[in-house]
């Protein structure tokens, strides 16, 4: 199957995972002792005392005084850093914050022992919601931080007020997105092992960026990085929750070094829901100005993100508000934009990026704006989008982002065609006469992916991610090993990179081994997050294979007495173009190592190549269309049909792309209708089991219909664009718009997600009380 690129090759990752041969952190504890964290039952308070029952090995913040606090930084005047001790010291700031850790022989004994640690906390006034945290006189979550505002970013183009004043229509609305947990199937965890012989400590952890974890561990523990090794085994889902530093991992490494032994921490589901990172607790106020032809002229947005008690490392709690600020305009062409975006600290679990970060919410905001305006102008939602979508490239957004070639209008048109919009409108009308409420919703969006150092530098990050390096080697037997700084954990990169490399080197993908997730074996890199790995690590793999292929061609040229530029490497063979003369690639590999005296003068023995790739980024795009039925009496929503028209550039492996979309859309439906972390007024978390935090099951999601467009831009060297987050970004807006469309006869406005049955029912019942 040549080329390998574009083939739906079954994933190399799957056989071990499907046959129980996967190895996750909890499979690798060996003879470790176990840690259990003692967590604060109080949202905000001063620690008076912590006492462990006799015979229990416990450590507190006082024992870890030498460990530096986590202090994520942005270098910008509108950002105020806050610190997090890895174990609470002096104060607690959210329910579930770790205040002590116990060590025992088994997880069960550790859990029993943790109950024998008595924590006396003097409660203080707490603040739970972002609007409350902004009120004058609100309790300060961090003493030095007045007003609880950690980041307060503003951006304004010229003429915003003028455009609003002259607009034919102004559409204005509030939007609230409730807090979610990324809910990886495998919760967090690590095993730390101190080796007295070498003095090194190995942290085997369920994380997304082993090199960054090693750096920050060394920084916080005050030790050389070379004394640390971070290994990432199989990871059972991460979705961003395992990208930012878990304070518990630092404690685990510290205890292993302190006790000169092996210790393990494996989080349970309740801890994960309570104490791992949350996301997307936002309040927006949005205004849009339109001309008489329903063209969007200006947007004015006030965005408030509840970032929880602490800031996440390395991206900081600026990640949600600053992404929302920069990417709010989405796929729509308008010039005047004013935005204020704030990150506000509260006595709740900290936030970290979760698949899509702010974009599921900002996409919902822009797509609601479009639908509300469509109703105002009396035109189809599809039509108002057509009039406003970006269609000429490269396009520079109001905030200066440059969009490479995409298919925004085309994806919408295809979705309209696939769902049969006209027929649907007829069915919708006749259903209404039977008391049934059907709705269709669209969501068109741009997905900024594969962005490198330049994009992160624009956020003024102290730790600026971006590039990826691939070390490539062909061994004497002709097999290939590629070592990555990226850290795939379910994205199928072991397969897709092998396809890319295989085409370049003329070897079958099965002969390409991808090595990742081990700081001792891989070049420094940033890991896998932000829909970047196929674009960036893939680009580096492509460049490195190109270099290696050039060397192979050089060796072949010498052997075949031809010019290197005439050598074609394909299907395991290097041939002279237009002739039968050729030599097996495997033979060239053997020669490069074992007969290096035959290499051309100046050519080094062996076959290795290294390349780094650091692109500015590329925008993939998609249109999602959801069809729903809403039961106005119960508020229940059933998603009947879900169509995705996706354009992620060149598809390396279409099957993997579809899988990404199926999972992503499911998480988007979760955000739209089901999942919600709730706190009470005291700051107690109410959703600590899967009976209360509700991921949808197979019964709640429809069969997905995925269609592909392939717009190839120059923005990436492989032609591939990222798409890991797109499903989650687009689905909430499509579903919410569909629900709003279904309920339009009731004249209700949906201002909140998830649109739970009780919320929808309340809207309907309020409208029923108003005589028509």
């Amino acid at each position: 199957m040549i080329p390998w690129i574009g083939q739906p090759l079954p994933r190399f990752e799957d056989p071990p995972l499907l046959t129980g041969e996967g190895r996750f952190v909890a499979d690798l504890t060996g003879d470790a002792s176990f840690l259990r964290f003692v967590r604060s039952p109080v949202a905000h308070g001063r620690i008076v005392s912590i006492e462990a029952h006799e015979g229990i090995t416990a450590f507190t913040g006082a024992d870890l005084r030498e460990v530096r606090p986590i202090r994520p930084l942005l270098h910008r005047p509108d950002f105020h850093p806050i610190e997090q001790p890895v174990l609470a010291s002096g104060k607690v700031r959210f329910v579930g914050e770790a205040v002590a850790v116990v060590v025992a022989g088994t997880p069960e004994e550790a859990e029993d022992a943790a109950e024998q640690v008595f924590v006396d906390i003097e409660p203080e006034d707490r603040v739970i919601s972002a609007p409350d945290a902004l009120r004058p006189g609100a309790p300060a979550v961090h003493d030095h931080l007045e007003g609880n505002v950690v980041v307060d970013a503003r951006f304004e183009t010229e003429r915003v007020d003028e455009v609003f004043a002259g607009a034919a229509a102004v559409v204005e609305f509030d939007l609230r997105s409730r807090r979610q947990n990324a809910l990886p199937l495998e919760a967090r965890g690590s095993v730390a092992s101190y080796d007295p012989r070498s003095g090194r400590t190995t942290l085997t952890a369920s994380v997304q960026s082993p090199h960054v974890v090693r750096t920050v561990l060394a920084d916080l523990l005050g030790m050389p990085e070379s004394d640390l090794r971070v290994v990432v085994p199989d990871v059972g889902g991460a979705f961003g929750q395992k990208f930012c530093l878990a304070p518990e991992d630092v404690v685990t490494a510290w205890v292993a070094r302190r006790l000169r032994t092996t210790v393990s921490w494996v989080e349970d589901r309740r801890e994960n829901l309570m104490s791992s990172f949350h996301s997307r607790d936002h309040h927006y106020r949005v205004r849009g100005a339109f001309d008489a032809d329903a063209r969007l002229l200006a947007v004015d947005a006030d965005l408030l993100c509840n970032i929880g008690a602490y800031s996440c490392y390395p991206v900081t709690c600026g990640v949600e508000p600053l992404m929302a600020l920069a990417e709010f305009p989405g796929p729509y062409d308008f010039g005047a934009y004013r935005v204020r975006s704030r990150g506000v600290t509260t006595n709740t679990c900290p936030m970290a990026p979760y698949r899509g970060v702010s974009r599921p919410v900002i996409t919902l905001a822009m797509e609601r704006l479009m639908d509300l305006a469509a109703v105002r102008f009396g035109i189809e939602p599809a039509e108002i989008r057509r009039r406003n979508l970006v269609s000429e490239f490269p396009y520079t957004s109001a905030t200066g982002l440059v969009y490479d070639e995409g298919s925004y209008v085309e994806s919408l048109d295809r979705a309209v065609e696939v769902i049969g919009l006209e027929d649907f409108r007829e069915r919708q009308l006749s259903a209404r006469s039977e008391g049934r409420y059907l709705g269709v919703g669209f969501s068109v969006f741009s997905e900024r992916t594969g962005y490198g150092t330049s994009a992160f530098a624009a956020r003024s990050m102290d730790v600026t991610p971006g590039y990826e390096t691939v070390d490539l080697a062909m061994d004497p037997s002709g097999n290939v090993e590629a070592r990555l700084g990226a850290s795939p954990h379910g994205q199928g990169l072991e397969t897709t990179l092998a396809q890319l490399i295989g085409d370049e080197l003329g070897v079958a993908p099965a002969r390409v081994r991808i090595v990742h997730g081990d700081t001792d074996r891989t070049p420094y890199g940033w890991g896998t997050f932000a829909s970047r790995s196929l674009v960036i690590a893939g680009g580096a793999a492509r460049l490195a294979s190109g270099r290696l292929a050039a060397k192979l061609a050089g060796i072949a040229a010498a052997e075949l007495e031809a010019a290197p530029e005439d050598i074609v490497i394909r299907a395991g063979r290097a041939t002279v173009a237009g002739t039968d003369a050729g030599i097996e690639v495997a033979e060239l590999a053997r020669l490069a190592y074992h007969s290096s005296h035959r290499l051309a003068a100046g050519m080094d023995p062996g076959l290795t190549a290294t390349a780094t790739y650091d692109p500015d980024g590329t925008f993939s795009n998609a249109c999602h269309a959801a069809m729903v039925e809403v039961d106005p009496e119960t508020g229940g929503v059933r998603v009947d049909r879900f169509v995705v028209v996706e354009d992620a550039g060149r598809l390396i492996n279409p099957m993997i792309v579809d899988g990404q979309l199926h999972g992503g859309v499911t998480q988007g439906i979760a955000g739209a209708l089901y999942e919600e972390i709730r706190y009470d007024e005291e700051g107690n978390i109410l959703t600590t089991s899967l009976m209360d935090f509700l991921p949808p099951t197979l019964a709640e999601v429809p069969t997905f219909e995925v269609h592909h467009l392939e717009t190839i831009s120059e923005a990436t060297i492989t032609g591939a664009k990222g798409l890991g987050e797109g499903g989650t970004i687009g689905a909430p807006a499509a579903v919410i718009n569909a629900v709003a469309d279904a309920l339009r006869p009731f004249g209700v406005e949906i201002t909140e997600m998830p649109a739970t049955p009780s919320r929808l029912r309340r809207l309907v019942s309020e409208s029923e009380r108003i005589p028509a």
Binding site: T106, E108, E109, E111, D112, E115, D268, R270, D631, E633, T634, G635, G636, Y674, R678, L686, T687, T688, S689, M691, D692, L694, P696, T697, A699, E700, T756, P757, S758, R761, R762, S765
Partner: protein, 295 residues
Amino acid sequence: MAPGYYTPALMKPAPFDYHQARSVSEAVAHLGEYGYEAKVLAGGQSLVPAMNFRLARPAVLVDINPLDELDYLDEDGDTLRIGAMVRHVTFEQPVTKGPTGRLLAMAAHHVGHLPIRIRGTFGGSLAHADPAAEWCVIALLLDAELSTRSLSGGRDIPAAGFFQTVFTTALEPEELLVEARLPKLSQHTRVGFQQFSRRAGDFALTMAAVALESDDGRVGNARIALGGVSDRPLRAPEAEQALEGQVATEESFRAAAEIAALEIDAIGDIHGSADYRRDLVRALTRRALEQAIAA
């Protein structure tokens, strides 16, 4: 290791002692000995998760799974006798001819997911008394009688007096629930069962079970039981009364559902307010009545 006594292994729950009962009298003896400290382990589908969260921390578990003597279904004239250890899945196909078996089957399909139905028991569900449990609602609807055993003998408790509040019944700590007796509905009774839950298999936010006769187009012997709305399953006596003798029409059903929604004492939680529960009662009661009459 003494027979019937199992050395506690390491596990997620707080430490507890475990006794496997080999007979009802042995189970009752354990309960007599440990009283409040003991919990009966039947299917364990609610108890074990609660223990894993350490919300339930019984010092002693008395496992009655080996008690085949409690795994029976008997028809005794007009009464269906259900042993406490009959698993939920048993009821997916009608266990008795006529409306009683049909109603039990309708409800059975809403009990959790298949693995839960295979393990969980009829008696365990009643004794656990989750206000949103299907069997509690059915027991109340059918005016079931519940039999207990204890060292001092045993007693029969009508369902109406059995469910007291959330997870709390008339059972004394030393009593074991051994049997539920369901008076069978007359052959011409029509039944309906409706529930609304967030996801397939979740506990219902609200459910409505109804039974009525309407031989001559007029409603007789109407019964309405509701679950998930309050701290215990409830009957809706005013709505039942209002239906009596009415012509079975959409309007009379609508009116009765409205009465049910107003007469019940609804409770809110994070999944829905009391008002929302009332809205669900209104919709589901009407639908259950319509379902009954349409069948």
